[in-house]
Symmetry: C2
């Protein structure tokens, strides 16, 4: 079995959302598993000097054209949430906590959270919103509530974020295939060709 693909994303990243809707199908075509790794890309901004995409003059205006156009071309529902950018800490903590016991359920949670944010346009930054989405797919609300306040869960996310930064992950989505980094939703077709051909 070839190595799994590492899929880094931020729950507040609209291009991460588009990639999340596609990455499993692309990987499955080539017999690959995907490890989902929520990241807080704001942690890299101090190093790269960047800031939330839609807040950057000129580039933000472009993204507001490119995002819905790209989604439309792929047949993916898309809208920019009313409250944007937003904090994705609670969503990321919930993901890592759940993934320890049930990685597949954690992916389901990730997609449900992403859909609430970027298909429905509703907020997922509060603990309440994250718990509401999680209970909607059968996760125990009390256990998740406790997890979101658990110092171990907080430390776990912090360690994951530090490890991602250490690995050079400055954006979302950011995908490793056999050690090769690919940044951006625009790279998904290239990743598909890479997996198909074995790389170049």
């Amino acid at each position: 079995m070839p190595a799994p693909i590492d899929f880094y994303f931020d729950f507040s990243s609209p291009y991460g959302y588009l990639a999340a809707r596609r990455i499993e199908d692309i990987a499955a075509k080539h017999g690959r598993d995907v490890i989902w790794r929520p990241h807080l890309i704001g942690a890299a901004f101090a190093t790269t000097g960047s800031k939330p995409l839609l807040e950057i003059p000129m580039k933000g205006d472009y993204a507001r054209i490119d995002l819905p156009r790209t989604a439309r071309g792929l047949g993916i529902s898309f809208r920019i949430p009313e409250k944007f950018p937003f904090l994705s800490v609670a969503a990321a903590r919930a993901f890592y906590w759940l993934s320890d016991s049930d990685p597949s359920k954690a992916k389901e949670l990730a997609l449900a959270l992403y859909d609430r944010a970027f298909a429905a346009g509703e907020e997922i930054s509060s603990a309440g919103a994250v718990i509401a989405v999680a209970t909607g797919i059968g996760v125990d609300a009390e256990a998740l509530q406790a997890a979101l306040n658990d110092p171990d869960v907080k430390a776990r996310l912090k360690a994951e974020v530090n490890a991602a930064i250490e690995r050079g992950v400055f954006g979302s989505p950011y995908i490793f295939v056999d050690g090769e980094p690919f940044w951006g939703h625009d790279k998904l077709d290239e990743i598909d060709r890479w997996l198909e051909t074995g790389g170049w």
Copy 2:
């Protein structure tokens, strides 16, 4: 005849170089002409807060992996010039001056300049280097030398840069197809599909 494609690029942009090697073939497939428009993207950095790609921590490291890998996948010779980033003002002035009398020759000059920088890895920032490349394809050296110091040519480039900024061009390559902006070399396949399908 459908409208031509506007191809904005900076002579100091390695992704612009990759796009320059491909854009005419993609456009020709769909019966489109291409208007080449050298830009000085540094003029947008004050607005976007960005800086030369390879100087950005993390992102620069990624580009040093992605650029040669992308070029290799396309069968395009590529190297990062020893002196990088570099000024592209002389190259851009030479281009606009030549394009007024011979647009097709100006494209030939652009490709020759890009090749010298990103295939041979040599400098194209000095007037001497630009003139050497231009004379290599039959451009009159004295006329070009005079043009590079001509206030009208300088004003022309300035006006082109201002018009590009006004149009939102913050990066290279940046391509308009029927008014739709596409940023980045990674968008070329999407542009191909857009032209093929008439858009979505």
